[in-house]
Amino acid sequence: MPDLDWHGRLGDVSEYGAAEAAVQAALDAGASYADARVMHRRTESMDARNGEIEELSQDEDLGIGVRALVGSSWGFFAVPDLSDAAVRSAGARAAAIAAASATVPGPAVARIPTTPASGSWSSPCEVDPLSVALSEKGDLLVGLTATMKAAGADQAEGSYQIWDTRKWFVSSEGHRIDQRIRECGAGIAATAVGDGETQRRSYPSYRGQYGTRGWELVTGLDLAAHAERIADEARALLSAPRCPSGVTTLILGSEQMALQIHESVGHAIELDRILGWEAAFAGTSWLDLRQLGTLRYGSELMNITIDPTIPGALGSFGFDDEGTPAAARDAVREGIWVGVLAGRDSAAVAGLDYGGSVRADGWARLPMVRMTNVGLEPGPHTLDEMIAATEDGVYMDINRSWSIDDKRLNFQFGCEIGWEIKNGKLGRMLRNPTYTGIGPQFWQSMDMLGREVTAWGTPNCGKGQPGQVGHTGHPAAAARFTGVRVGVTG
């Protein structure tokens, strides 16, 4: 793996050596198990508004996080210093913190057995996004936002984000893994300000599209082809009729379906939530492990996979942050709940034999259960077929707001734009479309599913205390649902 090329000075430092020293220090301090991750991350982001750059930021972050198990309790300590003294101190402090956890002890911590992995992995990248000239990237955003402004947007925004992460993982069981994951993405949005309200249109999604790919992802979005259109639509929405209130047939576009999957399936199948480990903050889950394998989650069209191996999707990796190799797994098969997102310790508690979904937001944060790529397998229909088969309904797409209860059951989501459907045809544009429902009832009403799947990336998934931001992927297709309450107003 190449040296750290931004800072350049760290070429003579062994990242593996630092991680091994930290692990050894934790063991010397009494830990029965320890692991350590050295992480180096370079990020770049740019925001433009109305034809001008608002912010250009580049960051570099390097540090080590050490996790230690003492008795039945975990401890974690992290420092941005890879000197031998610092990493050894970090290992010892992780063990000391674990020892303090014994003040309020729980059941003995078990971890499902694993064959310690060694290896390297890199995400696919054709065009290194950090190597694309800043002037080129800046000119792109300036041009796009100027176009939207000229087309009638009161506020025209464009942004991109890039992450280039390298990590080295070592455990006392013998793991020795390094990975390089490059992620990037971009998006544009036009806001029209009316009399007492605002309307917003985005492309290709609410915050843009992201993936574990190079700048070719951004190029492929063809943002310029959509700038004028979304500005026009934002302004048109100001005078569009409100989404009617009532119960109807609802067709969701694939971008909104990604959000629907993320919130009402992805979080619900996180094993740490199911076990109550997130009860006080992120919440629990309506799912009961005793029903794994038998519970009907949705209609027979519903096949959801957990798959961190999808090339280029935002939740992809070679190994998770416990060293488990990436592997695909079913979460819902023909509507029946069959799998969870798990780590080695949560899997052991639940009596399961797989982990593989544990990640941390940087070196300073504890790895925890996170979504990888959680998404739908394609169905048999096209969007046109769904619309044609709908006598009376609403089509909505592009997420605008999202809210769901702490058990991941009761949701209310809003979209940027909707259209009425009458007699198998799209009709008038509708503003402020919202819909609400209860997760399993909603999914069981899915009677048509698209065959064109897009792996949407969500770069802003919050969880944990201290808070962590996760990057997740969601293959999704348009789908039709029946008997849905729409048009909830304040």
Partner: protein
Amino acid sequence: MSDEQSLVDKAAELIELVRSMAPGAQAEATVDATELSLTRFANSFIHQNVADASTTVRLRLHVDGRTATGGSSIVDTSGLHALVERTLAAARLAPLDPQWPGLAPPAAVPTVPAVDEQTAYAEPDARAARVRDFVAATDGLEAAGYCSTLRWARAFANSLGQSAASVSALASMDAIARQAGGDRKFDGVARLSSARLSDLDGARLGARAAAKARAQEGATELPPGRYEVVLEPTAVFDLLDNLAMFGFNGKAVHEGRSFVEVGEAQFDPSVTIVDDPLDPRGLAATFDVEGTPKSRRTFVDAGVSAAVAHDRRSAALAGTVSTGHAMTGGASWGAVPLNLHLLPAGDNAGTATSLAGDDHPAAGAGEVDGPVADASVAALVAGVERGLLVSDFWYTRVLDPRTLVITGLTRNGVWLIENGVVTLPVQNFRFTQSYPQALAAGAVLGVGTHAIGLPSGWQALCYRAPALRLASWNFTGNPSG
């Protein structure tokens, strides 16, 4: 040399490096050193116990009409040199920045009381002991939450000569007790932030959470609709948070995305909201990331919108001056007040007299036998003929920023109030409600007399709020949909 002085030197070193490598460049440097420790528990035992110590530097440069920002956690001399080099390179390639507002001129920053050392340097045992006391006080209920301590030191320097430093500390406890009933669990919550860890009484907070959880058992479903409500401080936090992000954001106001119109009577006369970053009871901050001194400011004065938050960029666009609310990464989002206080009834000054997070730290005994958090809330409940007592809000999201219509859910306890008495535990609701409308003239029927400091899971902010009695809250769904 003190830690604070070493950060000041680090910021000055960065400015000197810029001066030597790019004479004429305008530069500002912020150095943050944080020690965050958080002891987290669930199922009544500590399951995640973490700490990190990090130092980061942030450099913003304006050179030849172009601007770039860089940051790094590699803060030795060669790391700083690399940061300056690449930020200069980035600035020279960036598009022109005609809206550059210039650097903050030298100005004295206020002082705040010294931090409580036992909080700033708390050992894991001190946090674990509070968790132990919380769990014990729930008397057999399942418990979950966290106890945290944070020490935050910040230094600033810019090439105009402004220089400043500050240190603050905050302790927080945020936890629930869970009463099992059939196949359901009924949660009760207790939260408190304070500049002193010693103010966090795990036993008292655990007893309060447990009392609320027990009083929630057997909660039944009520139909959605408009109800009069008493919102406890834990729920009022969410009102302040959304008002801060979307309402008092000066950039949003300038762009027409906020409802706020300075000088207009947009709230009930009983509502006064101040932003007090110098309050020693919270996470005090004496200057912002642009080096502008902070001060106590009134945002809503007896119902009249009185001010909004600005950084230098948004202030220049709006034709005014910075209010000292610049944030890292805030150029796009705008400036946000992070120390909002909704003043309790009878508190016209709202100024702090100590580091205590709770205005009445000794008032807890005897107030936890039931769902009502304290006597101040009980007084508001007593005036309600028929309404709901709401402990907490959850997952609130904006449907329209201009009207600040928000949807979300209740959490951690709802009860029916009839004739001034809590009569029945109620299951959670979904609501869809305009927050300014809920606080408008005539809509606020009472403001509690007791404000507490409330922690946030996501930002270094500390709001203070009393309970509120509101004439109407629009509940748009219940557990049935």
